[in-house]
């Protein structure tokens, strides 16, 4: 019986730690983004709150929590309340299947450093990332504002086109690892990370996840130049904050997934596995911020063209080539 309770305690500790780290990281990613964008633009960025501005996320949190929670007239109240949660929760849930370190051995029992090692982990990720779109679409619809609606519709259209190429770019990974479980996929990359075998799939996946987390150059659902703030124009206070935090959790999670699928997950020399995983994930986060500082937003038709006419056919060809190659080397 004590063994059972120990298991529960270990699991709860792991869960709490993951939750805490992800949320803190998301808050500090906002800070990092503001800093790095400032450096790109030869500015200094936030440096007033605390040493080097490090308490800025806390100040932002207090500001968001104490702001007025405004609901527009004639908005669909329940959907309006629901949408931010729909955007943030799936993003956190995806992290459940990502292995972030080698299994630990504590008190004679093995503790895998993954919240839930699903044997269909990859499909779980694809399903949840589809659900996250509902947050955008419902938020845009419930606000009863033309800009929000346009943003929501754009989000839907964009996600449909990019989910396809994202899923297809992962098929070769499954073919190579012969498993849908993310733990097995990481195990399969113990010697050589899959980016060596699948550079094309990696590029397609990278472009697709950029569109997936709605970041520049694919931030059409928000498109502040055209749509005020897109689907979250009408949101204020912590509801807006939830959309915001969801976006940054998405960056961390998708960076972690790209690490897991292509960069060998937590495998790496010298440093401990958790450190390797964090480094690779944060490198992706840095790349996303760097990209935001560099590229302009795509036009809507360019986005559709890239998704349907370039990435999806390329991903299909990549699957075929991988299949032939696997048959040849057998």
């Amino acid at each position: 019986m004590t063994a059972f309770y120990l298991d529960i305690a270990l699991f709860a500790a792991k869960l709490g730690l993951v939750f805490f780290v992800i949320l803190t990281l998301a808050a500090y990613l906002v800070f990092a983004e503001r800093k790095i964008l400032a450096w790109v633009q030869d500015r200094k960025g936030p440096n007033r709150v605390g040493p080097f501005g490090l308490l800025q996320p806390l100040a932002d949190l207090i500001k968001l929590l104490t702001k007025e929670d405004f609901v527009p007239a004639a908005a669909d109240k329940w959907l309006f309340y629901l949408a931010p949660a729909m955007a943030a929760i799936p993003a956190i849930l995806i992290f459940a299947v990502i292995p972030f370190g080698a299994p630990l051995t504590i008190a004679g029992r093995q503790l895998p450093l993954v919240v839930a090692d699903l044997n269909v982990g990859l499909l779980f990720f694809l399903a949840l990332s589809s659900i996250a779109v509902y947050g955008v679409a419902i938020g845009g619809w419930a606000s009863n504002s033309k800009y929000s609606l346009l943003g929501g519709i754009r989000g839907l259209a964009q996600l449909i086109s990019y989910e396809l190429s994202m899923g297809l770019s992962l098929v070769p990974i499954v073919m190579l690892a012969r498993s849908f479980s993310l733990t097995d996929i990481v195990e399969a990359q113990a010697t050589v990370p899959f980016i060596v075998y699948q550079p094309l799939a990696f590029i397609i996946f990278l472009i697709s996840i950029t569109a997936e987390c709605k970041r520049i150059p694919f931030d059409l659902p928000e498109a502040e130049g055209e749509l005020v703030a897109g689907f979250h124009s009408e949101y204020s206070g912590m509801r807006f904050g939830l959309f915001f935090v969801g976006e940054y959790i998405n960056i961390i999670v998708l960076g972690g997934l790209a690490t897991t699928f292509f960069l060998g997950g937590w495998h790496g020399p010298l440093l401990p596995p958790v450190v390797w995983f964090s480094l690779k994930t944060l490198a992706f986060a840095f790349f996303f911020i760097w990209m935001r500082g560099t590229l302009p937003r795509l036009r809507y038709d360019q986005l559709m063209h890239l998704g349907w006419k370039v990435l999806t056919p390329l991903a299909l060809v990549n699957i075929l080539v991988t299949g032939w190659w696997l048959v040849l080397i057998r």
Binding site: I36, W39, V40, D42, R43, W290, G293, T294
Partner: protein, 185 residues
């Protein structure tokens, strides 16, 4: 490969090169020193000709330069200067009161340009924020400074103002008055 698709392939190559070039430039800016001047701690030194707070100056002898001619208030496009002229016993004019409403002032410098006696001048002191808007209405005692400002040797009454501070003909560019009766043929 047809000509057209070959062209497309070339554009793919050059496009990729252009995008990577953009990434390189933003990275180089990331490592550059920011140009920000952190205002309350670091202050930029404005040039002497900077147009900010307006002052009334004195001539080298220590007298007020202003002769209350109203040219500044006439030149002011937002009508923020007002005054009341008066005359001393020796005939020298001065402003009984002189008022500039800095909440209206647009710091265009037209008053300083219009001033014939170099009395009203712009200074580089740009920090004149106040909590109460009425504190931005400056009276003569707030405006008048002890020094000469920019043209420190200029003294209007040495050049003009006939017979006010010195007898006729004693000005700097003046010659003695001619006795017309001596100009006989």
């Amino acid at each position: 490969m047809s000509v057209k698709s070959a062209f497309h392939f070339m554009s793919l190559f050059s496009d990729t090169k252009a995008i990577l070039g953009g990434f390189r430039i933003t990275l180089s800016h990331m490592l550059r020193k920011p140009v920000t001047i952190q205002y309350p701690e670091q202050k930029r030194t404005p040039s002497p000709r900077f147009r900010a707070r307006i002052v009334l100056t004195r001539d080298p002898d220590g007298d007020e330069r202003c002769v209350a001619c109203y040219l500044c208030s006439a030149a002011c496009p937002v009508d923020c200067i007002s005054m009341q002229s008066a005359e001393r016993e020796d005939g020298r004019r001065y402003a009984e009161w002189f008022r500039i409403n800095f909440s209206r002032c647009i710091f265009c410098g037209l008053c300083a340009e219009a001033c014939p006696t170099m009395a009203i001048q712009m200074t580089p002191d740009y920090e004149i924020c106040k909590r109460d808007i009425m504190d931005l209405v400056y009276e003569k005692e707030d405006l008048l400074i002890d020094g000469c400002g920019k043209d420190d040797s200029y003294n209007f009454y040495k050049h003009a103002g006939i017979g006010v501070t010195q007898p006729r003909g004693a000005g700097l560019e003046e010659s003695k008055p001619v006795d017309v009766r001596t100009l006989m043929p």
